[in-house]
């Protein structure tokens, strides 16, 4: 619980600040764009659907690459950290999805006032699953590369597959190569696939990181 509390307090506060900054920037940018052309998409949906997952992925990397060695150095086991990180990924993804939706609500008011068109925003649980999977993929890749160096590349195709899978239901993500109308292909089944991807990514992270050595950092 001590490790979870640390992750939640240190990273959630930081993430909230980043989200607030990105929101203000997005609205300002939308105003700037509106001076030259009509606004037909939600700026915040670009931030939440394209930038957000990368931020969440790097938080996942940070948890394994930076926090795990520090936790071990302070007498905590890898299993304790991984347990806390797994719980944290769920809470963090939910918080990020809530922030995304709060952003849509505020942005909706601005758009209505300015008579702009927002377009499709997707569903809240699609954002939750996307953040959940991307955070787990970040943890998986950090565990793989930190444990095995370049051999960690083996985990990369799996990470990419999981990440792409979790983004299918997010508007504006683009179509997959060789596969058209993938959103209608599985429908809500993509959510199930995302949940399975998260489970697999977390399981693989546990498998790899439970024996991860704490190496000396370069001074």
């Amino acid at each position: 619980m001590r490790v979870f509390r640390h992750l939640a307090t240190s990273l959630a506060g930081f993430s909230a600040l980043v989200a607030a900054g990105v929101f203000v920037f997005t609205v300002a940018l939308t105003f700037a764009v509106s001076l030259f052309k009509d606004v037909v998409i939600s700026g915040w949906s670009v931030a939440a659907g394209q930038v957000g997952p990368w931020f969440v992925l790097f938080v996942g990397v940070h948890v394994i690459h930076n926090v795990l060695p520090v936790a071990v150095a302070h007498g905590r086991t890898r299993r304790e950290l991984l347990g806390a990180a797994t719980g944290f990924s769920v809470v963090f993804a939910a918080a990020m999805a809530a922030v995304a939706w709060l952003g849509f609500a505020v942005e909706g008011g601005v758009y209505a006032l300015m008579d702009w068109t927002a377009g499709d925003r997707g569903l809240p649980h699609a954002y939750f699953l996307m953040y959940l999977v991307w955070c787990a993929v970040g943890m998986l890749l950090a565990a793989a590369f930190d444990t095995s160096g370049l051999a960690g590349l083996v985990a990369l195709p799996f990470g990419i597959a999981f990440a792409v899978m979790a983004k299918v239901r997010i508007p504006g993500s683009g179509e997959l190569p060789f596969l058209r109308n993938e959103m209608s292909l599985l429908g809500a089944g993509w959510h199930v696939a995302s949940a399975v991807a998260w489970l697999l990514a977390v399981a693989a992270t546990w498998l790899i990181a439970k024996n991860m050595p704490v190496r000396s950092k370069s001074a």
């Binding site: 302070h74 007498g75 905590r76 050595p213």
Partner: protein, 291 residues
């Protein structure tokens, strides 16, 4: 805390850093872990601290340490690379980790040490000088009050007054809170008076483990005329010898018995102790048939 190591091996690819090592530490002593660069000190300590899965067994009070929450709580290893904080963390964050994650952490003592070493709380760990990082490591190690505390080259970059402050703090804290402390160092003579027992390792193997006082008595410097010294030391394990004109000085390893002492006196030889550091140097060199 009792430490039992059996058949410990640590490998990095084709390099064997610790080679089938076995020893026990009986606890509540200050141990010196001495070895040359690359002898396997850090790898050994890393395995003792659960930083890496051991091949062989590492038991703390009879329980395996690796991924054993109860055992891990009782261990603190400080390497000079400051594992206990991220480079982007401020010094105050490193102390907060200790306070949050260690039941045995003494935050008041940590703040005292921060003041003693003049550490800037708001500065990032990555921006500290080498000496300041070492001081932070010592602060984390001592304030952890872990039953097994290991300090790996913790004096690196410290200036002389800071090192002496560290030695004083270490001794005072050990007297107040006896525990098992293992220190690896190359400044052997500076720390020699603190060490109760010494382990010397070389090429990943344990060369010897001995009480520091016993170890000192194991070496004798024999000085006299060259012929007399040669006659006296014939059959003894000679670590090194120096000659100046007809005078010769030889360091021998092994305890001299009463008959040998009488013999030396009869020959008019001078017998004197040798420094721990000299013993270490010679024991880790391929001389004397000891390795």
């Amino acid at each position: 805390m009792q430490v039992d190591v059996r058949g410990l091996t640590v490998r990095y690819g084709t390099i064997t850093a610790v080679d089938d090592m076995s020893f026990s530490l009986s606890g509540n002593k200050i141990y010196g872990l001495l070895g040359r660069n690359g002898s396997g000190k850090t790898s050994l300590m890393s395995a003792l601290a659960g930083y890496r899965r051991p091949v062989g067994s590492v038991l703390l009070d009879g329980a395996p340490v690796f991924e054993n929450a109860r055992a891990m709580r009782n261990v603190c290893l400080v390497r000079h690379t400051t594992d206990a904080a991220d480079k982007g963390d401020k010094v105050v964050h490193a102390l907060e980790y200790g306070k949050a994650w260690r039941e045995t952490w003494d935050d008041t003592y940590a703040r005292e040490l921060v003041e003693l070493f003049g550490l800037p709380l708001k500065t990032k760990v990555g921006e500290l000088s080498l000496g300041q990082r070492s001081a932070l490591g010592v602060t984390i190690g001592l304030a952890s009050r872990s039953p097994l505390t290991m300090l790996d080259e913790s004096h690196l970059g410290m200036d002389t007054p800071t090192r002496y402050a560290f030695y004083d703090a270490l001794l005072q804290d050990f007297m107040r809170h006896p525990r098992t402390i293992v220190i690896s160092t190359y400044l052997i003579e500076e720390l020699a008076s603190l060490l109760e027992e010494v382990l010397i390792i070389d090429n990943g193997r344990l060369v010897l483990q001995e009480e520091a006082d016993v170890l000192r008595s194991r070496g004798t410097e024999v000085t006299g005329t060259a012929d007399d010294v040669d006659a006296f030391t014939a059959g003894l394990t000679v670590l090194s010898e120096k000659s100046l004109g007809r005078t010769k000085s030889v360091m021998v390893y092994g305890t001299l018995d009463d008959a040998q002492l009488v013999h030396a006196r009869r020959l008019g030889l001078e017998l004197g102790p040798i420094a721990l550091q000299d013993l270490f140097v010679h024991l880790t060199e391929p001389v004397g048939g000891l390795r």
